[in-house]
Amino acid sequence: MSKVDTSKARPQPSVVEEVDRLVVVPRRNYGIWIGTAFTLVLSYFILRAFAVNPAFGWETAAGYLFHPSIMSGLMTTLVLTVVIMFLAIIIGTIVAVMRVSPSPVLRSFAGAYVWFFRGVPALIQLIFWFNLALLVREFSLTLPFVGEIFSIRTNDFMTPFFSAVVALSLCEAGYMAEIIRAGIKSVPTGQSEAASALGMPYRNILKRIVLPQAMRFVVPPTGNEAINLLKLTSLVTFIAVDDLFYSAQSIYARTFETIPLLIVVAVWYLAVVSIMSVGQHFLERHFGRSETRSQSLTTRFLRNAFGTRAKGAAT
């Protein structure tokens, strides 16, 4: 270490020694203590209001947690979520591709689709499809010269479950279309230009170049949508699909144990969402992008557990 001496007085070693004798006393932050105490007291009273009040019947809730009809309701909710998500992704992809197509007709149709299905409350869409029988008595396929080859009464196939699937798939597809379109838009245009320079047809460019790359931007928000959809399916209760919420309602309609059963429902939703967040966490890690939603306690817990850290000031 070549330190060149200047005319300035160099440190006498004693100064540093003198300094090293000093003990740093950290500041006591009374504000933080008061804040902590206040929050704890407040949380205590809130929790106590819930825990001690007999109306909340935690034991009753615990008793119903694995009740067979609750279980089958949960199953319905999960099946609905999976089926609707699957259909919504397919329809959403088609609509998204239409939205970026060169044809103005297709583009406006897709735009109207997204506007309509995202603009109308899901509850109304559900009720509408459920009441379809009032509007259209039967569906029939009639060919000229051949006559009617196929006819079915609306009431026969528009079961509550089926109308729920139709209504929510169409609705969710509106949201998925926007996500997929954003994904397509975020693939640099140079990619498709390069592909057309190679003589690839439009269809192939979309299928083989653009969509695969868009996946990276599509998957993380799709995880969020799946969680939103899970919660959205609770609305099917109002068209008498026996999902989780409906099952709970039909129990408390008999026993009047309203609050305990609502607790059961909330607990199951929280549990399923937490499990889905775990999956989403790994998807996000895999695709290397984080979404605004994240940062729930679950993901924070996961971050700590798996040692992946949010970007921070690590200077």
Binding site: S2, K3, V4, V16, E18, D20, R27
Partner: protein, 268 residues
């Protein structure tokens, strides 16, 4: 309560005219040692320029001066007093937030990225701290702000928002904002590094004017020419230590250490 300049001077051997006094300053982030014992003296009214490759610890040292970073070891006094602590016997008590704010207000700092408050006009930027920290009446703060803006040549930009200004203008406003607190010392953290080359001159001119009024300045910079012209001392840091220091003109003309030589040959 003791942390008075006179007591510290006697105890730590601080020169009478010292503005920034550093002995054995160490700073580590976790296991990474960024500063490994830095000694610096900046007398009142002088300009010290710190140069060095990136990662040499020069910016960290600057941030230690106003307690943006807490020291891991060593001592750092501004105008003979600790910034973040009160010394009583052998104990350094961390000061309360309010007290720290009052002391920081005496030390101005300029950043590479200007860091003007983007939601406030130039005038609002300039009066925010005087009004809220010093409790200066708004009218008085405004008239002082206008004087300062005139000094940095931006009188007509009073009501502009930062994004309507060029980088050079933003940095000049930032200098005026720092001056509005009437600081004892100004710290510059690479004030011209984010600027387009043609805008560097206007900022350096303002700094030159400041130096002529006798403002004490510690400048981390890559502008060797500026250091040679304005600096009273030049400090070359590398790897968390001071490699060489001295009179800028002599040092640039005739560096002693091979590392200084190598660095200067790259930046000149």
């Amino acid at each position: 309560m003791s942390n008075t300049p006179s007591e510290n001077r006697a105890r730590f051997g601080v020169p009478e005219d010292s503005m920034v006094f550093a002995r054995g300053v160490r700073k580590s982030f976790g296991t990474l040692d960024v500063l490994k014992g830095v000694d610096i003296d900046v007398p009142k009214g002088s300009v010290a320029c710190i140069i060095g490759p990136s990662g040499s610890g020069k910016s960290t040292f600057l941030r230690c001066i106003n307690h943006l970073e807490k020291l891991t070891g060593g001592i750092l006094l501004v105008d003979g007093a600790f910034v973040g602590y009160d010394l009583r016997k052998d104990r350094l008590y961390e000061v309360k937030d309010n007290e720290l704010c009052q002391r920081r207000a005496e030390i101005g700092m300029l950043f590479q990225s200007f860091n003007l408050f983007s939601h406030m006009t130039v005038m609002e930027n300039l009066i925010e701290a005087p009004v809220h920290v010093r409790r200066v009446p708004v009218e008085q703060a405004k008239s002082e702000a206008l004087e300062l803006l005139a000094r940095v040549g931006l009188s007509e930009k009073v009501d502009s928002y930062p994004r309507e200004l060029s980088g050079g203008q933003q940095q000049r406003v930032a200098i005026a904002r720092a001056m509005a607190m009437k600081p004892k010392v100004l710290l510059f953290d690479e004030p011209t590094s984010a600027l387009d080359p043609e805008l560097v001159g206007e900022v350096l001119q303002v700094m030159r004017d400041l130096a002529e009024t006798g403002m004490t300045m510690v400048v981390v910079t890559h502008e060797i020419g500026f250091a040679r012209e304005i600096g009273d001392q030049l400090i070359f840091m590398d790897g968390g230590v001071i490699v060489e220091e001295g009179n800028p003109r002599e040092m640039i003309a005739n560096p002693q250490s091979p590392r200084t030589k190598e660095f200067l040959s790259k930046v000149l």
